[in-house]
Amino acid sequence: MTPLTLPAADNSSTFTPPGLESLHLPAILPWGADEGFTKQMLLVLLSVFFIAWFFIAASRKQQLVPGKLQFLGEQLYGFVRNSIGKDVIGGRDFMAFVPLLFALFFFLLLNNIYGAIPLFQLPTMSHVGGAYFLAGLVYVIWIGVGLKRFGIRYLKLAVVPSGVPWFIMPIVVPIEIISNFIVRPMTHSLRLFATMLAGHLVVALAGSGIAFLIAQENVLVKGISVLVLVFAIAMYMLEALIMVLQAYVFTLLTAIYIQGAVAADAH
């Protein structure tokens, strides 16, 4: 009863491209059911385990002159701490947000890069739930930071830019409200979700295309599969880059939103 529907397996003469169903595998527990504990959930929990294991191992024996593992951990942690946290949020306030940025970046990095690792092979953020949750969490945090720092005045600071002539205000303020409070969390989550989904589909499409072409009788058509393979490898590399890049972009945007809330009175 496993409806594992790779279209090329039909060996028919018509090519059915893989659709969204290739992302929604049947559940692991109960095995093969439509609903239940899915691969996405397993991968999320594994990612937490891997990240925690690596960084606890890297930070367990802290020495002034680091060993290889500690050095690698410090470089990775230092990248998020300094390049994302300190540089964007600024030296005074950034330390409070470093754990969030750190957890976000490595959570996304590993969950995205799953899509490029054989057997894992599913970027978990291609399931929109995870992206919704993380973007929602960030949304709540930056608004919370703004309200805590400026009180209710923050809502005015966030939507009324200074230095704008009064007669443009009726246009600017609605645009600011829409862009900051409505569109921002949507783009934040959908950017991540859509790139992961699209990347996964492109690679899956190339893979099933190769399988379909190889199964054809005609030798020339078989030969075309080599071209598709080259294309698929190039796309795979590009996707791997995008997976890393999107983890960075999501975390960087988080830092920028928080910075905007921390320094709402500065612009």
């Binding site: 009863m1 409806p3 529907t5 659709g19 969204l20 169903e21 992302l23 929604h24 439509d34 609903e35 504990f37 899915t38 996405q40 959930m41 999320v44 929990l45 990612s47 937490v48 990240i51 925690a52 960084f55 606890i56 930070s59 367990r60 802290q62 020495q63 002034l64 680091p66 500690q70 951990g73 410090e74 942690y77 230092g78 701490r81 330390m95 470093v98 754990p99 969030l100 750190f102 957890a103 490595f106 959570f107 978990t124 399931h127 929109v128 739930g129 995870g130 919704y132 949750f133 993380l134 969490l137 959908l190 989904l197």
Partner: protein
């Protein structure tokens, strides 16, 4: 058949509609990770960074202190060198002065000694001269008397008279000498 079922199922569900269980599991997973980051990872790394910064700054401070100590010691040695040089100059000057003084003293002493010896010699010579004079006077007197007695043929041994004659003669002689010396 199965394929149709799955396709029907997925096509009905938009990819934008989340599976709420997945949202929940992501939330739990991320919460665990955030907790670990807050509790263990970030403090551990920050502690190391702080310790390292302190070690470096402490090292710099220590180096600066050592530098200051070294330059102070150098100053001190230079000062000591200058002092020693001054001292040496002073001692040399003193020695030279002392030497000159000693030399002067020695010269003076030698001069005094020479003067004393000269004086002594003079005195001795004078004494000897006196002695010689006295003995001469007596001897010359007696010899002259004897001679004169032989020539005259009589004894002029009347001492008192002879003595007076001799004395008068000698006094004339001395007066003549003194007149010749004039």
């Amino acid at each position: 058949m199965h394929q149709l079922m799955v396709q029907a199922a997925t096509e009905s569900a938009s990819p934008l509609v989340p599976n709420w269980w997945e949202v929940l599991v992501t939330a739990i997973g991320f919460a665990i990770l955030l907790f670990i980051a807050v509790k263990f990872v970030v403090p551990a790394f920050e502690k190391t960074f702080a310790a390292r910064a302190e070690a470096i700054e402490g090292g710099i401070a220590k180096a600066e202190k050592a530098q200051a100590e070294a330059s102070a010691a150098l100053e001190e040695y230079k000062q000591q060198l200058v002092d020693a040089r001054t001292e040496a100059n002073r001692i040399r000057e003193e020695a030279r002065a002392e030497g000159a003084q000693i030399l002067a003293e020695l010269k003076e002493r030698a001069a005094v000694e020479a003067a004393r010896i000269t004086e002594q010699a003079h005195v001795q010579i004078e004494a000897e001269r006196q002695h010689a004079l006295v003995s001469l006077r007596t001897e010359v007197g007696s010899m002259a008397t004897t001679l004169a007695g032989r020539i005259v043929g009589e004894s002029l041994d009347d001492d008192a008279r002879a003595s007076r004659v001799v004395d008068r003669f000698l006094a004339d002689l001395e007066a003549q000498n003194a007149g010749a010396a004039k």
